[in-house]
Symmetry: C2
Subunit: 201 residues, 2 copies
C-alpha cells in the first residue's frame, strides 16, 4: 500500500473513532460522585489511586485516605502526601494478614479503620476518599459487607471514592461505577530484581 493511501486510511479510521467517542461522551451527562474499584493481581492498584489523589489536589480538592493494610516499610506516598493540609491521611492497618496470622486481632484493626473511613464518608468537605486495600479486608471477612455498602451509599452525592486491593468481592463490584482489573502480565521479581524504592514502595 503506498504511503498516501495508508495516510488516507489512517485519517478515515481516526475520524470514525472520533465519532464513536464523541457520541458516547455526549450521552454521558450526569454529574455525581463515582465509586471506583481497582482490583486484580497486577501492579498499579494503589498507585493509580494515589495518582488520582495528586490529580484531585491539582484541582484544589480535599482528599481523605485510609490505608487498611500496610506493610512494615514506611512508604513514599505516605511521606509525600502527609505534607499537604488538604489531605487527611490515616494509616490504620498493622501489616498484611499473612504477617499477623491472627484473625480476631485483624478484625478489630479493620473495624477501627472502618470507623475512620466513615468519618470521611460522612464529611462533604472531602471531594475524594481513597480506601486503600479495603478489598483485602472485605475478602478476608474482617468487616461486615452490608455495613460497608450502606455507609458507602450514604456518602455525600458529589464525593468520589476509590477502593483498591486484590480480590474485590461481587457485592462491591455490583454497586461500583467503574471497575478495573489490573492483570499481571510480567513481573520484575521473576527475573530476580528486588523491590525498588519509588516503584514498589
Amino acid at each position: 500500500m503506498p504511503d498516501t493511501d495508508r495516510e488516507k486510511n489512517h485519517k478515515q479510521r481516526m475520524q470514525r473513532k472520533k465519532e464513536v467517542i464523541d457520541t458516547r461522551i455526549a450521552k454521558a451527562d450526569k454529574n455525581r460522585g463515582v465509586l471506583l474499584i481497582h482490583t486484580g493481581n497486577g501492579k498499579g492498584k494503589s498507585s493509580s489511586g494515589f495518582g488520582m489523589v495528586a490529580r484531585a489536589l491539582g484541582h484544589n480538592m480535599r482528599v481523605g485516605i485510609v490505608q487498611f493494610i500496610k506493610g512494615s516499610d514506611s512508604t513514599g506516598e505516605e511521606r509525600f502526601f502527609k505534607q499537604f493540609e488538604q489531605v487527611s491521611y490515616h494509616v490504620m492497618g498493622e501489616g498484611f494478614t499473612w504477617e499477623t496470622q491472627d484473625m480476631q486481632r485483624d478484625k478489630e484493626v479493620a473495624n477501627i479503620a472502618w470507623k475512620q473511613a466513615v468519618k470521611l464518608l460522612s464529611d462533604n468537605t472531602f471531594n475524594l476518599v481513597l480506601l486503600d486495600e479495603l478489598n483485602i479486608a472485605l475478602k478476608s471477612k474482617l468487616l461486615d459487607i452490608e455495613t460497608v455498602i450502606h455507609d458507602l451509599q450514604q456518602r455525600p452525592e458529589m464525593q468520589h471514592v476509590i477502593v483498591t486491593g486484590r480480590g474485590a468481592i461481587p457485592e462491591l463490584i455490583n454497586i461500583a461505577d467503574t471497575v478495573t482489573e489490573m492483570k499481571l502480565i510480567k513481573h520484575a521479581y521473576t527475573s530476580g530484581v528486588r523491590a525498588q524504592k519509588g516503584i514498589e514502595y
Copy 2:
C-alpha cells in the same frame, strides 16, 4: 465449621502464604532500574504512573515526565506536579491522533517529544522517567521502534522508566521488566455519568 477451626485454618493458610512470598522475595536480590509498562483498555494506566511519581518524590527522587499525547483539558496532575522543583514536566502532544487526523504532523510532534525523552533518559540525575502515552505513539507508528528500544536500553543503570498507554507493542513488552494490563470491567460513562474532575482528568 466451628469458629476456632476456621481461625486455625486461616492461620495455617496465611503461614503458607507468608512462606511462599518470603521465599520469592529472598530470591530477588538484584538492584537495578526497571522498565514498567501499563497498558490495556481500562482505567489507571497514567494515574498509576503519576502515583509512582508521588511515591518517588516521597523518597526525594528526581522525576522526569513527558506526555506524548494530551487532550485539550488542562489536567490536574500537570498543575499539581509542575510545582515541585525535583520534577521536570514536559507536555509535548497536541491532542489525540483521532483529534488531529494528520499523520505527518503527528509524527513530527512525536519525534520532538522523543528528543525530550532522550534528554531525560541520558541524565542520571533523574531516578524515574514517566513516558505517558508513549504506547499510543508506538502503536500508531509515529516513532521508530528500534530507536526507542535502543535509547531505553542505553539509559543509566539505576533509572526507572514507566511507559503508559493502551496497545503496548510486543517489541516493548519483550524488553520490559514488569507489565500490567489494565482491564476494563465496568465504566461509569455507560451509566451516563460524565467524566468527573479529579477522577478522569
